[in-house]
Symmetry: C2
Subunit: 182 residues, 2 copies
Amino acid sequence: MARIEPDFELKTPSGDDRARRVCNTCGFVDYVNPKIVAGSVTESADGRILMCKRAIEPRKGFWTLPAGFMEEGESVADAAKREAREEACAQLELIDLLAVYSIPRISQVQMFYRARLADPSIAAGPESLEVALYHWDEIPFDDLAFPSVRWALEDWRARRGRTGEPPALRTQGEDFAPREDL
Amino acid sequence: MARIEPDFELKTPSGDDRARRVCNTCGFVDYVNPKIVAGSVTESADGRILMCKRAIEPRKGFWTLPAGFMEEGESVADAAKREAREEACAQLELIDLLAVYSIPRISQVQMFYRARLADPSIAAGPESLEVALYHWDEIPFDDLAFPSVRWALEDWRARRGRTGEPPALRTQGEDFAPREDL
């Protein structure tokens, strides 16, 4: 038997104002909206930052902050804590919302919290080759997985030692550079 | 000819860790993630708040703030401005991020900005029966469309006259009441 497969075509559903992917096989309309990535810049008790070396594509072997796609039925805060648990076996205590980054090119909104380790133990989860705690000067800036990892680290450093401030709000421009974006 | 229709069943795709909707007709995996609603609490020059009476379900005939689902390829800020343009023919100047609400029950993250009208003209768009500018005491609190409309109004009032503060971060609990949630 032939394997059944979706066969999508861009069409504007009736009553809608933009083209959506509609399946010619089954009629399903694939309404796609931006996805939320929830993550954290997490400090150890001695001020080092928790980072993970990716075990999966994209950007396998490069360094990232614990972060990932928010799932249905959870809050942004719970998603950030779950990602740190899955990727670094880390228990977080969230401090505040550090940053909201819009990345229109890939239709993502990334939200990073500041956090501290609620327990000193960390270990590589299935999506990480290794995990590490880095002092600022030790961070492998030449081997970061994504531009937003650098932004989050820089925004964390700019706010170091202060609380009660608004998060950094940025949108990635066409040139891949972030711009301040209220 | 019989109309083709999707036939979804909950199954866990290989390599995944949770059940997703998979179509028995075409094999499509419907990865669903939380959706972002972008909106605003917008002031006129004399301090009144822009509100819209809904022309569409859900909650047709009830009052809301300009807000709606973020679309692909835009920033959160652009989505908030677009929704005000579509629903109230209003041009906004954003001030700051007022609030981030997680609503796990319906898998939404709602982000409200504070804004002011860049131009005094407003008018009902196709999704609004009417639009209005209300002083605080005139707001139809008994006829609000959604709980988060009340939260945004209350968070706006709590921050009135101040800037440079972090947004309100709330998660709707099982009892529908919002709780502070870092």
